[in-house]
């Protein structure tokens, strides 16, 4: 899959052809910092002064790089596709290699950052259980009721939730069997076929 760059984007990135490879590296680092922590205008100014160019141009080129990296990471664009995508920019070979290498090195981290930003449902964290036997109550002195008491830990990235639940032997067996079936379902030929087709 190729990423189609817009003209304005291309314009911004063209600036890279006019600077040294070291400077490109520095720009890549700044773009990565942007993804990690957000924009830092001060860095743009110092860079602009050093290179004796407009601060706005620096900002454009950093943002352009950032956008290129995140878009590619988001779509999980492969090495070859990445190379082909930036071909249209007309970069020299060493500059292109530099960008490809940087992309490959940082793709995983960028995806992780993007994943964190995405919507999260309350997730299973942990389950604790214990076996109790109720032997007597205020209104019934001699009876035996085995009970499994459970503490279910769930939560999304911000909140953690603990639910105390209980169940009996029959329902526990049923619960276990049903969830085991759910697990087995993933190994069924139907699911495997779909997963294979999607991953193609």
């Amino acid at each position: 899959m190729l990423l189609l760059l817009e003209d304005e984007h291309k314009e911004h990135l063209e600036f890279l052809t006019s600077v040294d490879l070291e400077v490109v590296k520095e720009f890549c680092r700044i773009a990565m910092e942007f993804i990690r922590k957000g924009p830092n205008l001060k860095v743009y100014h110092t860079a602009a002064q050093k290179l004796d160019v407009n601060a706005e141009a620096v900002q454009h080129v950093v943002e352009g790089l950032m956008y290129l990296l995140t878009e590619c990471a988001k779509l999980m664009i492969s090495e070859i596709d990445f190379q082909d995508s930036i071909m249209t920019l007309g970069f020299q070979e060493d500059l292109k290699q530099q960008l490809v290498q940087f992309y490959l090195e940082n793709r995983k981290e960028i995806r992780a950052i993007l994943c964190k930003m995405s919507m999260d449902l309350p997730h299973y964290h942990n389950l604790e259980w214990r076996l109790d036997v109720q032997l007597a109550s205020r209104s019934l002195r001699h009876h035996i009721t085995p009970i499994v008491t459970m503490k279910l830990h769930t939560g999304d990235c911000e909140t953690k939730e603990v639910t105390v639940l209980q169940t009996d032997a029959v329902n526990l067996l049923h619960l276990t069997q049903t969830l085991q079936q759910a697990l087995d379902e993933m190994k069924s030929s139907h699911c495997r076929r779909i997963v294979r087709n999607i991953n193609k």
Binding site: S139, T145, P146, V170, N171
Partner: protein
Amino acid sequence: MEEVDNIIIHTLKQIGCDLPDSIDSLKKFSTELVVAATVQCLRVIKDKFDISPNLPPGMSAKFRVGTALANACLELGYQGEIGYQTFLYSSETEIRRLLLFLIEKLPRDSAERTDEALGTSALMQRAIATEISRQLKTTWSAPYCKAKGICWRGTKPKLWHREGVIGTRAYHSCSLSVPYGVGDLTKKLHKELKQYYMKELAVITNQPPHKADLPASVLESNATSVTAAQEWENEWNSSGLGSGLSEQDYRLRKQQRLKKKITDQLRQGIQKSEATVAAAATTDLMQTLNTFTDKSASKTKGSRFMHAEKLQFTEDDAKTAVQMGIGEGAPKLDTEEDLQQKREKEVECLREALQGLTSQIEAMEIDMRKYTANTQQMEELILVMDRSVSDKENSYKVMKRTLDLLPDADANIAKLQSVVDSSAQRLVSLANQWEKHRAPLIEQYRQLKELNEGKVSESQKKLEEIKSFREKMKIVADETRSKEDLHKQLISEYERMTKGVNRSAYTRRILEIVSNIKKQKDDIDK
């Protein structure tokens, strides 16, 4: 050898060998069974023994298993000949010998465990285990198939277990009322109360606002009543019996004491509150009063002053009026100065007269005081005189009597003597009479006192007895309860016990051995 085989088979079954029921002697043991039995025995004896009880199909594998088993037996100290052939090509006697040896080697504790008296905790653990295994065998059903989350299984006996809590409810009780004292014909019920019981009072099932609260309410009211009775019993035992009052009196007294305490408390409370309120009120009152008195004081002062003024003015007015009146008759010749002089003179005269009169009065008062002092002295003197007069009169009378009696002195003395004697005799007789009355009374008093003491000690003794009986009663009740528990436990244990054949088998075997020994002894003796 049948008995021995029975014992062996029974023991093997006990340690978990899966022997078909048709096998009743070692003759019928197949090679597979022999291997399985040996492996099972070895497994029980040694903790880690991992040879499969199923004989493998291949000949060499069979051979290997046989050798391993033989080695294991030798390791345990088996004396007889043993090898793979013992298992694979078994003879009845060899197998019997081997199995007897192995059974003897079986750890005793498994047998001891069953011998141990099953405590309540062991029974409970067993009950828990059976309950769990029963539940594990139950098939699952959807929650809406169960009434109130309870799963019913079996018909006789009906068994149930909980698979949901949809029908549960917190323990919530409300008070219930039932007719009281309707069956007792000796006591007459109030007509209105009876009427109420008959017509108005609801049946207890309809009394709680929610029907589901009925069981909790019934249990609660019963528990409350039972606890109250127990409390009363304790109190009666600890302090009620000692007080020597009847139950009713004791209750009455307690009630009074409580009432008194309550009223005291209330009174104190009221007093306290009153005191604070009153304190506040009096200070207020004082302040208001003060303001009032201040006002009135100033007013009265003013008024007094004004009054005096007024008086003066009126006097002046009167004087002037008189003067004017005088002036009307006499010609107005006197000048102001003459008048002044006249007046001064007049005043002078009057003043002198006044002084004279007051000095006179003073002198008279002094005289008066003197006279009263005198009269007092005189009165005292009179009293003293009177006393001396009466004394003298008395002495005179005595003197006169003696003088009268003097001429016939002897006779008079004798008379006097007789009078004295008679009075002395009278005294003695009176004393005797008193003694006569007193002695039986005292006797009676003593007897009664003794009797009373006896009664007191007896009652105390009885009290002690009652107390000890009550204690005994409790102890015996406790004992019966615990004995009943034990009885139940033993019964359940007894039911649990396998009533196998082995006891008779064992005894027969023992008898056989004994007879054998006897025979051998006889042989030796020959």
